[in-house]
Symmetry: C2
Amino acid sequence: MKTKVAAGIDIGGTKIALALETLGGEKTARRRIPTRVEIGGAAATVENIALALEEMADQSDGEIISVGIGCPSPLDIENGLVMSPSNLRDWDRFPIVRFFEERFDVPVALDNDANAAALGEFVYGAGRGCRNIVYITVSTGIGGGIILGGELFHGVAASAGELGHTIVQPDGGARCGCGSIGCLETICAGTHIARRAKEKLKGGAASLMTEIAGNIDDVTAETVVEAVRRGDETAMEIWDETCRFLAIGIANIVTLLAPEKVIVGGGVAGAGELLFAPLKKLVPQFVSMIPADKIRIVPAELAAESGVCGALVLAKKAYRKKHQTYEV
Amino acid sequence: MKTKVAAGIDIGGTKIALALETLGGEKTARRRIPTRVEIGGAAATVENIALALEEMADQSDGEIISVGIGCPSPLDIENGLVMSPSNLRDWDRFPIVRFFEERFDVPVALDNDANAAALGEFVYGAGRGCRNIVYITVSTGIGGGIILGGELFHGVAASAGELGHTIVQPDGGARCGCGSIGCLETICAGTHIARRAKEKLKGGAASLMTEIAGNIDDVTAETVVEAVRRGDETAMEIWDETCRFLAIGIANIVTLLAPEKVIVGGGVAGAGELLFAPLKKLVPQFVSMIPADKIRIVPAELAAESGVCGALVLAKKAYRKKHQTYEV
């Protein structure tokens, strides 16, 4: 008899992470495949995913009993649709839930990628043992997921947790892709760290960054971090501002929700102590109503796996819901 | 046989509101007494409250079965203590819960005044029929309460919901009583609206406000509102800035929590449409991820009664918890 396995799918702009897990919690297969949005769009991509999952199940003698999907926003979760995320443009209103329901004849759950990552960290990572956490991913953009009382908090139109679009610099801030001015994302997301560095360099600031990147246009957030490590003053100015505003954004969340932990993931969190040391120092300065020792800012533990781990949790929840069982 | 009644106590800096309510939901008595912090401090005040409640119960032939208390922060809810609120300074660590438990031999529940008001609006006022709401009171200071899934959300150290201390003007903002710079409260609370107006007037701005108040030092938030109604340009500048930043503060809450409603109460909300018209226009401009028609900013419905109504809810919850019953 085949082993029952839940399937997790974490869809990114360039790669898709897949995993299978038994009811007992053992991961029996993992794989990464390219998103390849240039060939065939959504239909070709989900077909690729389905084939990969079937192969993974066959090789591990598993039977897929449910599917969980983390996917970039915007989504129509109620109707199981991927709308038109900026990095999956040709997916316009693709019925991803129905596709996998019909393909595998199993229950399927969909949530946005940041919520899935929050759930992954909550169950398998830095949030283990907590009831209330906030997960924030600082990457190309800034996203987040809020878990309260052990459950993802969705809010109206399943739109809660958009931490990157809280406004922290209303006067003199940059215009965000969302239309507002001074969103946290416009200062602290990787693309905006790079933009701010480039603007400084084009303004004539002396810096190692140009040398590290080769030329100004190739400067990235990683370039800034590397230059900070080498003691470059211009890079340190950019980085200090990044840390200060990220601390304000996190402080506002802490002041509102007083979570047990704020878990920070995403590429920019790869800067490690260069980011976490200032955050741990600054956030308590910006939060007056909670004792500093109760404020915990911690790195995500699952790195690139947060999302797919969360997708597995979604899959198991979908199975439980359908079969009204607590066996998984 | 006497009628079983829950007792609600809402303690303010100058007045205390009291009410009794039957298990069937009928309010049988209401009273307001002065806080009189100058005479005898906490001990004399709670004695006054107890005597008033006993008299109210006697007159309505009621038997007090539980007590709920809303009180200014900071509190130690776990241990039932009133710490040292700025408007109840001599209450330092007063064991208010134990006092009423011993006096009436009934279960007693304590929460902060903004949380109690949130609960009052949720059960009896503008939040009826919702599951997730945020209540914000804009008064001398700015406080708030968050209700998620039908329950007050407390967070670590019962400190969630301090909306007034989210930071919205980190650069160039004023220092808040809490120590941070640029808290929402430093712009939009009544005292700070008055402070900003006085600073403008002392800087030589022409305005009706001096005439309305009699002299600059007597200008209040009400003066500003009255001058706005008369078309005074200096007052309108102050008010526009107030509305803009309050909209940003509310927008950040909406972006994080996507509540069904944001309920705005407190003295400054008494400005009515002068406040709500700009908020309804501006908040959707500052929230990109939620359709404008799903964002609902509404006035509190219970005015000065929100707090005592919430205290009654706390009392009933305490009774239910003790007696493990759902009869109330």
